[in-house]
Structures are given as C-alpha cells and as structure tokens.
C-alpha cells in the first residue's frame, strides 16, 4: 500500500461520485443523441505503467484509440483514452446526427470521444466542486494491431496510475466503446485530498 493507493473509504467515495456522474452524463447524452446510452458499472483500480500496456493490448481488434487530456483546479489532471473496435464503430456519424459525407471516419471517432469524455468529466468535476479544461482530442497514430507497440515506445514518467474504466453502449446504433481515465501519481495525491474533504463533510 503506497501513498498513491486509495483507502477503502476513498475508493467507495470515488465510486459513488462516479456513479452519480455516470447517471447524469448518460441522461445528457441520451437527450443530445436522442437514443438510450448505457454505461456499465465502472471499475476503479490502481495500475502499473507496464500493466497498462497489457490491459490495452489484450483488447483484440482495437481499431482506434483517441486520447484527450483533462485538467482542473487543485491539481486534478489526467488523460482519457477511448478505444474502439472495428465492429462497433460503423454508425458513429449516424449516431451523432451527421450525413455520411460530412465527416471522415477519423473525425467521427474524435468527435464522439470528445463528447463522451467532456460530458462525463464536466459532471464529475461538478460533483467535486471543480471545473475541467480539455486538450484537443488526438487519434493515436497507426493503432491497427500495433497499439501495444506504440505504447511500448512511450516512456512513462509515472509508475502507478489510477485507472477508471467505463463502458459506453448505444444498442440502437450497435455502438460500444471503452473509456479509460488514467490519473497519474501526483494527481492521485490531489484527488485523495479532495475525497478526504468530501468524506469529512459527511
């Protein structure tokens, strides 16, 4: 147990905050997309840099990964990775309400990623009295079958990260994607402080 691990209370508190945020985010998304959006119960765990490689490369058929950085007050920051499978991404333009020739596949992926990430994190930030800003979302290069190679080439400047995994499903459009929020070491300390404050207020 290091200073970067969450206590049981902290973990429960974060889980509850995320559950509430997911409920609100799915409601907002459903209104905007005009269809039901299902979010599966999230998983929260601490993860080693080397395990992240494994987790991501285990996901077979990953067609694309979109990354978007987020940062708020009190040192809350991290990176959202949204991963897509070939078979679940055919109708994203349709889902977003665009005509087929209006935007490329890459742009569809980037657009939906940004909407999912920012909608969820905005609601989550409100839960912890914070406010998020975001980087422009980026499609990670040449993901086809070599995401793990890509990640192996990266040298992480962190050993441990808090990993929050949320799965989005829109059955009407056979859409499915995984959102992985990664919060690196220093930001974990900051989020623990926030959680302790919230716990103290109970």
């Amino acid at each position: 147990m290091s200073e970067f691990h969450l206590t049981e209370d902290q973990q429960d508190c974060l889980q509850e905050l995320i559950n509430i945020a997911m409920g609100q985010a799915s409601d907002q998304l459903a209104r905007y997309l005009d269809t039901f959006v299902y979010l599966k119960v999230p998983s929260i765990e601490s993860i080693d840099a080397k395990d992240l490689l494994q987790t991501l490369s285990q996901q077979k058929n990953t067609m694309a990964v979109v990354s978007q950085g987020f940062f708020g007050y009190e040192g809350i920051r991290g990176e959202a990775l949204l991963s897509y499978q070939e078979e679940d991404s055919g109708r994203i333009g349709d889902l977003l309400g665009y005509e087929p020739d209006e935007l490329s596949q890459d742009e569809q992926l980037i657009d939906i990623s940004s909407i999912l990430t920012t909608t969820f994190l905005n609601v989550f930030a409100r839960q912890i009295d914070n406010q998020m800003s975001y980087n422009a979302p980026k499609l990670l290069p040449s993901v086809q079958n070599c995401l793990s190679e890509h990640l192996q080439e990266m040298t992480f400047n962190w050993d441990l990260a808090l990993k929050i995994n949320i799965n989005y499903q829109v059955t009407d459009y056979s859409f499915n994607c995984n959102m992985i929020l990664l919060i690196p070491e220093t930001a974990i300390i900051n989020i623990k402080k926030v959680l302790d404050r919230i716990l103290a207020e109970f």
Partner: protein, 335 residues
Amino acid sequence: MLDFNALISEKSTNKQALSGTVLKQINTQISNQINTGVLVLDAEFNIVLWNRFLQVHTDKDAANIIGQSIFIAFPELPERWLSRKLSAVLQLNTPSFCSWQQRHHLFELPHTRQITTDSEFMAQNCTFLPIDTDCEHKHICILIEDVTDVCHYQGQLQKTLAELAQMSRIDGLTQIYNRRHWQDSLVQEYAKSRRHTKNLSLMMLDLDHFKLLNDNYGHQCGDMVLIEISALISSLLRVEDIFGRYGGEEFAIILPETNLTGAMELAQRICHSIATAPLKYNGQVIKVTVSLGVAPLSEQTSSYEELITHADLALYQAKAQGRNQVCSATNMATA
C-alpha cells in the same frame, strides 16, 4: 462550492486593487493583441464579438459583421455540420474541437507565411467553448489558432518519409527495385499464386562477359550499360511485372499470371532487343548480350526459393550453351 472569482478578488483587495475598468482594458488589449482568432456567437449563431486578429485577417467591415449570422459572414463554412457541432456545445455545455488534421481550415483566412509555404489558407485548430454569462442565453466562443507552420512541417515530414520509403526499395544506380524489395515482392506473389492457383513465372538474366566489358572500357562504361539495359528491359515489361537488380550484373523479373510460353516469348524478345540495341560509349559501339533462364511455377514447386533455384539453373545452362540465349527450367529437366 469554491468561488474562484472570489479568491482572486480577495487576493487583489489586499494589495492595491485595480479598478474593474482597468482590468477590462487589460483583458480587451490581450484579446486584441493575441495571435488567435476569437469569435463569440449567440445561441442563434449570430456574431456578437470578434477580436482584432480576425478583423485584420478577414478584412471585413466590423460594422457589418456584428449581429450577422456566422454562415452569412463566412459563407465558406459547412453549415449543416457546423450547426450540429455548435448545438452540441450549447446542449451538452462541453467544449468541442476541430483539428487541421481532419479539416485543414474552417475559415478561409490568409496566413502569415504566404511567401514561404504553399498552402493558400491558414491551417487552423478551432476550439468551441460554451460561455455562461448573466444573460439568459448561452454563448459560444470560437478560438481559431494559426497552425500553418505545423501543417507545413508535417507535410514536409510526410514527403521525406515517402521519399525514404521509395529510396529503400530502389537500386540507386539502375533505378529499378533493389534485391530486398524484389524478394519481398516474390514472397507475396508466390503466396498469391499458390492461394488462387494462378500462373507465375520467374526470369533471371545475366549480362554476358560483363567483367571483360569493365576491364576493356572501365567501370563507368559498365555502369552506363547497366543503366541502359535496365531501362530497355523496363520498356518491354507490363506494369504488373516486378523487375529488380538481383546482384552486380544479374537481374530478375517476377511475371505474375504468366505461363511458361508467355515467359519464354518475353525472354526471347529481351534477348533479341539487347543484342541488337545500339549502345554507345565515348563514340564506340558496345556490343552487349544477355543469357536468360526462365522457370514457371509448377505443382511440384515447394517454395519461392526453389523457383529461384530453377530459374538460376536454367540461366547457367543458357551460359553453358554459349550465351546470348534463353533456357527454360522445364527443357532442362527433360534434357
């Protein structure tokens, strides 16, 4: 909820507080000096504010712009797509982005490197931000960043990478495929022909007495001959044929969907064309001939390497029989 504005004003009251007017002046000057376009729209997408950067770059009259629909002021914008994107910003209260990598530009603006880059319009990264004010309706702020430089250098990089990829496939002297790329292609063509049970033939050819030519006329003459012969053979091939330099004066041609008869005809034509080609070096006529070996893919062929071996053996036989001629691997087997 933490009130961050309160924190800021509390801090500033401790020292000599700047008046609201002065702060406003500072903010206005920053937004007018910044090298980023700032455009604010109301919920109906009419322009309510823009900064100097946009005014200067669009060269439009400020009096006409304010209050105008963004789609009338900038008719180049893709209206349906952008309306949907902007409505997401309003409805979800989240920022939205548009990168030059997906859309080179949204606004047709000139850029500041018109002399030293080749793009007509400024490459842009656009950010769409929801703005909450005391006004009951939301606003949207569009930030337009000039990324023409990034776009230009990325283009240069891609071009260089493509050149490198091309160079790694090409033999520097003869400008035909090098050994490595040729062999990679053979592996693929072999697999393809096996999978679809299609014909495939291989031709190996070697310049006759090339060492003698180098000794008599010098290596520059030898190089000239290699270049001329490569060009001559290339002109006799179909687009799908894969022609490579196998070794010093040895060449190899992969002939997809070609049976032995077809390959032999082509080999004879190459042999004849080279023998009768008027090659000249320093005013002297150089007589060059080649020997060729042809091998077709058969059911017995167990690997692409075996195909090379068969063509090679046929080539040796052509040499042994007196050069300037074609031999096939099947003739040899029956001989």
